[in-house]
Symmetry: C2
Subunit: 355 residues, 2 copies
């Protein structure tokens, strides 16, 4: 660390998550960083971004940018993290990585600070992984409920925002909505895909089907037996974060035409007796959870209301009528904040506090 | 029935479902109706609509419009059906009702022809009920799988289209999308609700929150213990249609910014061994189901691709990794067609065939 304080590098500083990371650093005075380095691909190098009141030039990713860095935050594709996080570590940094490259590595802790902060101290590779945004959206709530009621089973359906696919996902959704505005399509007489083609929107989309006026039951890549990588991440990462190796999980991941904030319908079965009132009490006591659960007053979480917020919002808590010890919940979390940049930064705060 | 053939009345002929019903009657020559009467509220009476090539004047709802009618199809609010279906029966018609007024009446069969057509013949009140559109979207698939593998449990999350709230729902979604076009909202710096207010869209929406760039975990009215009426319909109607009084069901119903076609993520547990291949074989053999299940080829059901189609599309079939005898599926069905008008009309075809 330099004389003024620890040095942090943000790798992928110009992407959707990197941009959110800078907003969070500006808003949270928690760490008196001595220096904040912005790093990106050579394409974005040279851009000047304002961070904590300072104009800061984005540097091209190179081994030297990690010299003197204490904590390096990575939000880049898996293969970039796989190559560069170890380089940052070799140059002396702790790497906090938001890609999928290291999450299931047994020598890399996968951390949600309010659930398993202690795991962050055991990092034989010098790398700490940040969970997938879909998993992360429900972890604060599931961690709190698990401590009290012993989580056994999760059946999850997701409503995932376009920004889960980064800035290209956001751009594409806005472009599709602009192209369809005023057109009466998505019905028997007007085809959405055709209207997009007519408007000149090609098939070079981050999504495998039109997203405007549609939902798309696919996120990630194809794994064994028809599962998507996103669905398996929800299963495997939940098990690792919660420390329940035999947690039963089934997830269906679906993209929806929302810009930012993932939502999840969760069916959670516990080993102990659980009631709606007891669950509400546990959740209300968590500093990073907001209960929004009063349907009579029209109160429940929606992505449009949650976006830009740090806490996870939880509502629609119901006791399953036919399944013992089981709750239904609807959870919304900003996938760029708690789902990505915020949790990564919270890990960085933990690391900085121990330097 | 008159000399030319049976007489059918469509009550609610000018609504979203009524309009679809007329399209279906035009397209399906199955029944040589002697007369097709269009009926609506006094507000819509006098309109002239074209049905099977004939200009037909919409009549105001009154007891006399049912004189000589063999089959009366109702798509009107619960309280209108509750009052008028018995009047149609008293005047000699069989009433096929798509409201919630009679569905759980033990003396009224609740019918999906490919699942329980035989139930339609036992109608002590002269009324046959058509299921709720959300339930109906998965019934053809669940009925076929139940016959083979004995369905025991359903955990369902819905992605419900705006037209489930009728023409006002469609109009509102288009109006919201038009108001937001070109605006970078739904993110940290632009609030959807505020943008709608600024565009002059009031709170007189059929939805309890903005639907554009959002998902809303609410449909229907509030019932006991935080459940929505829509969620309880999925449970109670599934049990009745499938003839499984102790079927375990948990549903979470969520509105999404799609015009027409409901989608469901279904976690289905069976009493018998089940495999993806065996399930595919059963589903592929159903005339009213289209398998769209090849993720490697980018093939799965989406609402935008399904809208206007008669069959239910089923895809994303996966064996649950941690739950025995359990499949995950993603199902899409046009909520105005199979979810409402088409199933109602299929019941009418069954009744007409027995006259």
């Amino acid at each position: 660390m330099n004389q003024q304080g620890p040095v942090v590098a943000i790798v992928g500083a110009t992407g959707a998550v990197g941009t959110t990371m800078i907003e969070i650093i500006d808003a949270r005075p928690s760490v008196p960083w001595g220096e904040i380095r912005l790093v990106a691909s050579p394409r974005s190098a040279g851009k000047v971004l304002r961070v904590r009141g300072q104009d800061t030039t984005v540097q091209a990713l190179a081994p030297e940018v990690f010299d003197g860095v204490d904590v390096a935050l990575f939000d880049v594709p898996d293969e970039v993290s796989a190559e560069w996080a170890p380089i940052a570590v070799a140059r002396g940094a702790v790497a906090v990585d938001n890609s999928g490259a290291f999450r299931m590595d047994p020598e890399v802790p996968l951390v949600v600070p309010e659930v398993n902060a202690a795991d962050a101290t055991n990092r034989p590779k010098g790398i700490i992984a940040n969970p997938n945004c879909t998993t992360l959206s429900m972890m604060a709530a599931m961690g709190a409920l698990h401590r009290e009621f012993e989580l056994r089973e999760l059946v999850v359906a997701s409503y995932q925002a376009a920004s889960g696919a980064g800035q290209p996902g956001i751009d594409r959704l806005y472009a599709e909505l602009a192209a369809l505005a005023g057109k009466q399509v998505g019905n028997r007489s007007g085809d959405v895909a055709e209207a997009l083609r007519e408007a000149g929107l090609g098939s070079d989309s981050p999504f495998p089907a039109p997203l405007a006026l549609n939902v798309v039951p696919w996120a990630g890549s194809l794994k064994d037996d028809g599962w998507s990588s996103e669905e398996l991440k929800v299963r495997n990462e939940s098990r690792k974060i919660l420390g329940i190796p035999d947690l039963k999980v089934s997830a269906t991941c679906v993209r929806v035409p929302v810009v930012t904030t993932h939502a999840l319908a969760v069916h959670a079965t516990f080993g102990q007796d659980v009631s709606v009132d007891a669950a509400r009490k546990v959740l209300a006591a968590q500093p990073t959870i907001m209960l929004r659960d009063d349907p009579a007053a029209g109160e429940w979480p929606t992505p449009a209301a949650v976006v830009g917020e740090d806490p996870t919002w939880v509502g629609r808590i119901r006791q399953a009528l036919d399944f013992p010890n089981t709750l239904e919940l609807f959870v919304c979390g900003d996938n760029l904040r708690k789902g990505a940049a915020l949790n990564t930064y919270e890990i960085a705060e933990t690391v900085a506090a121990s330097l």
